[in-house]
């Protein structure tokens, strides 16, 4: 099993959810986060006082999928989240040792 963490533009969340649904990925966890990569923040001015806002609002998705589906999921995800502009975000993939369904103690890929 692999965990796919994707940090994306908040306004792309709906498209990504649709894309996941269309390839049959049923579960995901979404968190509102703030962060920045190479993308610069923006400037805000209040009564002449400037503030540099570096940490921008982003959305983090976490999904755990069977090993064989990783390529397909990443393709659909990055396709849906991409605008082609700086600030589109990143995807990280890591190994998952175990998955347990709390309701009935299913283990491994059957728990996904």
């Amino acid at each position: 099993m692999k965990k796919i963490e994707a940090i994306i533009q908040p306004f792309k969340l709906e498209e990504v959810k649709e894309a996941m649904k269309s390839i049959g990925v049923d579960g995901m966890t979404v968190t509102e986060v703030r962060g920045h990569g190479r993308q610069k923040g923006h400037k805000e001015v209040y009564r002449g006082r400037e503030y540099q806002v570096d940490l921008l609002p982003k959305v983090k998705l976490e999904l755990v999928v069977a090993d064989g589906r990783v390529g397909e999921v990443i393709k659909a995800l990055s396709g849906a989240a991409r605008t082609g502009k700086i600030g589109d975000g990143k995807i990280f993939v890591s190994d998952v040792m175990e998955a347990i369904r709390i309701r009935n103690d299913d283990r491994g890929e059957t728990a996904l």
């Binding site: 805000e44 001015v45 209040y46 009564r47 002449g48 006082r49 503030y51 806002v53």
Partner: protein, 456 residues
């Protein structure tokens, strides 16, 4: 004008039926009571409008500008003053401001509101109950110390703020209100002042005193922790926007109500008020747009408030187009003070109470001397009943000196009074919260609550 006109209509009817003198007296009484009803309706409405300026107007305007950990504490400062000042006003404040007394302070004739009942006070407002006048003036006394709260926002102890405001009302506000509006007050142009100064609705009494005291507070208390190193962005300009709109509307009670009658002078003040707010908004937006490339919402609403401040002393004395000029000047000057000068001077007047009220109020007081005209306000007459020239536009340039003197007195009283009171508060309870409390936020540290429990 209206009573004579109404009487003129009634008289021929009365005379043609061979009316007895008592019938005429009854008619006069009816006319008086009709005028009193009209005036009283407007003045009670105005009083309510002025209270609306403090809560929710100013409370929202200020609390949107602070960080979210201080939103309740900032609202509370305005709200507690609605209660505290009311009680002080009833006990002694009204008497100190409006009792006859010396040129500097009222006497104690209205202590505990003795004699302030339904019969009008002919000196202040001949057509409305004295109680209406008292409660209308109370609303001014409430908002004035509330304006100062903008300077020490996010760092003053609640206990110190309560003591400060109570003392400030008695030591700074009441004497200034007496000098300008009280019978026999030094600066009262209409009731025997030695140094007549035109202040229709409180440019000196409300805005210079509060704005200058705000500057003293900001200097005395020092900057907020993290000022200029941490971001201190307004947490909700949405709240500030609603607050500013309520201020604009409430200001009609403040300025047009200061005619103390539902008269054509009230209309004139209403129009001047509205016009000045409009051009100040545009003035601030324009200079900001040119300088930073974007016209901001905060800029628009700050400009409106600046214009409303500046027109306050002038509102019952100037023509609409002069109000437009006063507003424009205020929008531009207050922007320069707040956005350019303040950062150079380095004091932390957190919500710009000085930059808007102190500067706008002083500008308004001076421009009142320029634009005041007896074509708008003929309340001052010579022995022959001819209206006296008021400001520079009437050819009375000397009035400028009086306006400057009146402003200087307000500045001086505010500086000295505020310094002394701050010192007293510091000795009694300490004016500033601990660093820890400041970091935690005043909502939790002073009141044990949070403004936004969105997960609750």
């Amino acid at each position: 004008m209206r009573p004579q006109y109404a009487l003129g209509l009634c008289l021929p009817v009365a005379l043609s039926t061979q009316a007895q003198p008592d019938k005429i007296a009854a008619l006069e009484e009816a006319v008086k009571s009709a005028q009193s009803a009209g005036d009283n309706a407007w003045m009670l409405t105005s009083a309510a409008l002025v209270l609306l300026m403090t809560g929710p107007g100013l409370a929202l305007f200020y609390s949107g500008l602070v960080r979210k950990k201080n939103v309740l504490a900032t609202m509370m400062q305005s709200f507690v003053l609605m209660a505290l000042v009311t009680v002080l006003w009833a006990l002694v404040g009204y008497s100190l401001a409006f009792g006859e007394g010396s040129p500097y302070l009222g006497d104690l004739r209205y202590l505990f509101l003795a004699g302030v009942e339904s019969a009008p006070n002919g000196d202040y407002a001949a057509t409305i109950p004295h109680q209406t006048y008292m409660v209308y003036q109370l609303m001014f006394a409430i908002i004035t110390p509330a304006l100062i709260c903008g300077a020490f926002a996010e760092r003053m102890k609640f206990s110190a703020m309560v003591i400060f405001s109570a003392l400030w009302l008695l030591v700074v506000y009441c004497p200034m209100a007496h000098m300008v509006w009280g019978k026999g007050g030094l600066l009262n142009a209409f009731l025997g002042g030695k140094l007549p100064c035109f202040d229709f609705a409180g440019g000196t009494v409300v805005h210079i005193t509060s704005g200058v005291s705000a500057l003293v507070c900001a200097l005395y208390m020092g900057k907020r922790n993290g000022y200029e190193s941490e971001p201190m962005r307004p947490h909700s300009l949405v709240l500030s926007f609603i607050g500013a709109c309520l201020l604009w509307v409430g200001w009609f009670g403040f300025n047009a109500g200061s005619a103390v009658a539902a008269s054509s002078l009230a209309t004139s003040a209403f129009v001047a008020t509205h016009f000045a707010a409009a051009t100040a908004t545009l003035g601030w937006l324009a200079i900001e747009w040119l300088r930073t490339g974007k016209p901001s919402v905060l800029g628009g609403i700050s400009g409106a408030v600046a214009g409303l401040v500046a027109i306050t002393p002038a509102s019952g004395f100037v023509k609409p187009f002069h109000a437009i000029l006063i507003g424009l000047a205020a929008g531009i000057l207050c922007y320069v003070m707040v956005a350019m000068v303040k950062s150079k001077m380095g004091y932390d007047d957190s919500l710009d109470a000085f930059g808007v009220h102190g500067v706008g109020g002083t500008l308004g007081a001076i421009l009142t001397g320029v634009f005041a005209t007896n074509a708008v306000n003929n309340g001052l007459k010579d022995a022959a009943g001819k209206p006296l020239p008021l400001g520079l536009v009437d050819g009375n340039g000397g009035q400028m000196i009086n306006q400057l003197a009146g402003s200087a007195i307000a500045w001086l009283l505010a500086i000295v009074g505020t310094l002394v009171i701050l010192k007293i508060c510091d000795v009694l309870v300490g004016v500033r919260v601990s660093g820890e409390d400041e970091t935690q936020g005043l909502d939790l540290s002073q009141h044990g609550e949070e403004g936004y429990n969105l997960e609750a």
